[in-house]
C-alpha cells in the first residue's frame, strides 16, 4: 500500500521530467505522422475558388492508385534496389574498418580514429553530394583526370547520371553510420572468448567466423537498419546525381506533395513507402532473430 503510492510518485517524477521532450516529439512527429495517415484516406480536389486542396471525403482511391500504378511500383522497387545495394556495399566495406579499430588500435587511440572516420559525416551533405556530381560528371574530375593521364580515350559514360553513381554517393555518405554500430558491438566482445576459441583448436580465421562474427551480429543488424531506412527515402542524391532522370520514391512524394499539390495522394505514397520499408525491416529482423538474443 505504501509501496503503491511510492511507485506512483516515482513514475510521476519520471514522466514530469521527460514531458517537455516527449510532448515535443508527440507534437512534431507523432501527430504529423498521424495527420499524414489521415490525409492519405482523404481526397484531392479544389476549393470553390479553384485552389488545390484536400477535401474531407474518405476514400481508398489514393492507395489504389499507388498500388496499381506501375510507375510507383517501379519507383519503389528501384528505391529498394538502390537502398539494398548501398546497404550491402556500405556494411560489407565498413566491417573490416570497424574490426581494425576495435582489435588492432591501442585503446587510447580508438577515440581519435573514430573521430577521424566520422568527420566527413559532419560536413554539409549538400556539399558532399555536389562534390560527387563534380567528380563523376561527364567533364568531371575522374574523367578529365583519366583523360589527361591518357588512361582512357573518351569520357566514361557509366559513372555519370547512373544508378552506380548514386550508389557510390550514398555509400560514401552513410559509411560512418555503418562503422559505428559494428564497432560498438565488437568492443563488447569479451576478448578471452577469442582466446578460448583458439585454445580449443581453431585457427584465427575460424575463430573469427565462429565466435567474433556471430557475436557482432547485433551491431551488423543495427548498421544495416541505420543505412537502409534513411537511404530508401533519400531525395538529394537521385535529384542531383541522377539528374532528375533516375528518381526514387522520395522524389515522387515531393512531386505529388508540392509540385502537383496532391497532398492526399502524396500522403498515401509516403505511408505506403513507410509500410514497405517497415515490412522489409521486420522480415530482416525476424530472419536474424537468432543473432539478436535478448538485446536490441
Amino acid at each position: 500500500m505504501a509501496g503503491e503510492a511510492g511507485r506512483l510518485r516515482a513514475a510521476l517524477r519520471g514522466w514530469a521530467l521527460v514531458s517537455p521532450t516527449a510532448l515535443y516529439a508527440v507534437a512534431m512527429l507523432a501527430i504529423p505522422l498521424g495527420t499524414v495517415l489521415v490525409v492519405s484516406f482523404l481526397t484531392d480536389g479544389r476549393t470553390a475558388g479553384g485552389l488545390r486542396t484536400v477535401l474531407p471525403v474518405a476514400t481508398l482511391a489514393n492507395y489504389i492508385e499507388v498500388w496499381t500504378n506501375d510507375i510507383y511500383r517501379f519507383l519503389m522497387l528501384r528505391s529498394l534496389a538502390v537502398s539494398m545495394s548501398v546497404t550491402l556495399v556500405t556494411v560489407v566495406l565498413a566491417y573490416p574498418v570497424a574490426y581494425y579499430v576495435s582489435f588492432h588500435v591501442a585503446p587510447n587511440k580508438k577515440a581519435l580514429w573514430l573521430f577521424l572516420i566520422t568527420i566527413p559525416f559532419w560536413t554539409s551533405y549538400i556539399v558532399r553530394v555536389f562534390l560527387w556530381k563534380v567528380i563523376l560528371g561527364f567533364n568531371g574530375v575522374v574523367n578529365s583526370g583519366l583523360l589527361s593521364l591518357g588512361i582512357i580515350d573518351a569520357p566514361l559514360q557509366a559513372i555519370n547520371y547512373s544508378v552506380q553513381a548514386m550508389v557510390m554517393t550514398l555509400a560514401h555518405a552513410y559509411a560512418p553510420f555503418a562503422i559505428l554500430p559494428i564497432f560498438v558491438a565488437l568492443e563488447k566482445i569479451d576478448r578471452s572468448l577469442l582466446e578460448a576459441g583458439q585454445d580449443l583448436g581453431e585457427s584465427r580465421f575460424m575463430t573469427f567466423l565462429r565466435v567474433t562474427l556471430p557475436l557482432s551480429m547485433p551491431g551488423v543488424v543495427a548498421a544495416v537498419l541505420i543505412v537502409f531506412i534513411p537511404t530508401v527515402g533519400d531525395y538529394v542524391t537521385p535529384d542531383l546525381i541522377g539528374g532528375g532522370k533516375i528518381p526514387m520514391i522520395a522524389n515522387a512524394i515531393e512531386v505529388q506533395m508540392l509540385k502537383l499539390n496532391s497532398k492526399a495522394l502524396g500522403s498515401a505514397l509516403a505511408v505506403s513507402a513507410m509500410l514497405i520499408v517497415a515490412s522489409v525491416t521486420i522480415v530482416f529482423l525476424l530472419l536474424n532473430r537468432r543473432f539478436l538474443g535478448g538485446g536490441r
Binding site: A10, A11, L12, G14, V18, P20, T21, Y24, A25, M28, L29, A30, P32, T35, V36, L93, P96, V97, Y100, V101, H104, N108, A111, I117, W122, T123, S124, Y125, V127, F130, L131, V134, I135, G137, N139, G140, V141, S148, A175, P176, L180, F183, V184, L225, I226, I229, P230, T231, G233, Y235, V236, A250, I253, E254, M257, G266, S267, A270, A273, M274
Partner: protein, 268 residues
Amino acid sequence: MKARGLYSYTLAYLLFLYAPIALLPLFAFNDSVVIAFPLSGFTTSWFEAMWNDRAMWKALRNSLIVSGSTAILATVLGLFAARASTRHAFPGKTGIMGLIMLPLVLPEMIVAMSLLVALLAIGIDLSLWTVILGHVLLCTPFAVAILTSAFQSLDRSLEEAALDLGETPVSTFRLVILPLVAPGIVASLLICFTVSLDEFIVAYFLAGTEPLLSVYIYGQFRFPSNVPAVLALGTVLVAVSVLLLAVAEYFRRRGIARTGGTAGGGFV
C-alpha cells in the same frame, strides 16, 4: 600480418572517405570555371566572389539564427530526456525514449513531409520558425545521446553525498551536477549546431521565403559559372564544421577526464 592488411585497407577506406572533401580546397583555389583536371593555376578570386555575394550573407545570417536556436532548444530538451532516462524508472519509458530517438532512423523526407502537411493543415505559414521546429526534432536525438552519456558517467552517489551533507536538490544541481555535465552540454550545443547548419531537406521544404545556407548552395548548382565560388563556400563550411567538432570532442574528453574516467569510443 593480418593487421597490416587491415591497416592498408583502413587507410584506403579513409582515403576514399576524405577524397571528395580534399578536392574542395583544390578546386576552390583553381583558376578555372570548369571543375576538371588538369589544374589551371592558383587564384583566390572565387573566395572573393563568395565574399561579395550578398545573397550568400543573407542565407548565412538566416542559417546562424536557425542553427543557434536549434542548438539551444535541442540541448534543453535533451537535458530533460537524458536526466529522466538515466535517473528515473517510469512506465512506458522504452516507448517514449524510442519516439524521441525515432527521427534518427526515419528518412528525412518523411519527417519533412509530415511536418509540412501538419503545419499547413493548421494554417501556419512557413518561415524560419518552422525550420527551427523541424531541426529541433532532428537534433534532439543527438543531444539526448550525448547528454545521456554524460549523465551516465556521473556517479549517482555524488548527488546523494551532496544531499547527505546538507544541500537541497536545487543547490546540488548547481554545485555538483552542472559542473560535471557542463562539457557534455557544450558538446551537445556544438553538435546540434553543426547538424542543423549542414541539414538540407527540412531546410528546403519547411523554409518560407528566407533561404538558408544549404538551400542557397543547392540553388547555385544551376549556374555552372558559380560553381567554383560554391566550392569556395563549401571549403569554408567544411573547415568550420571540422573546427567545431574538434572543439566539441575536446570538451567531451575534458569532461570525462574531470570525472576521472578514460575517453572511450567517441559519442557512441
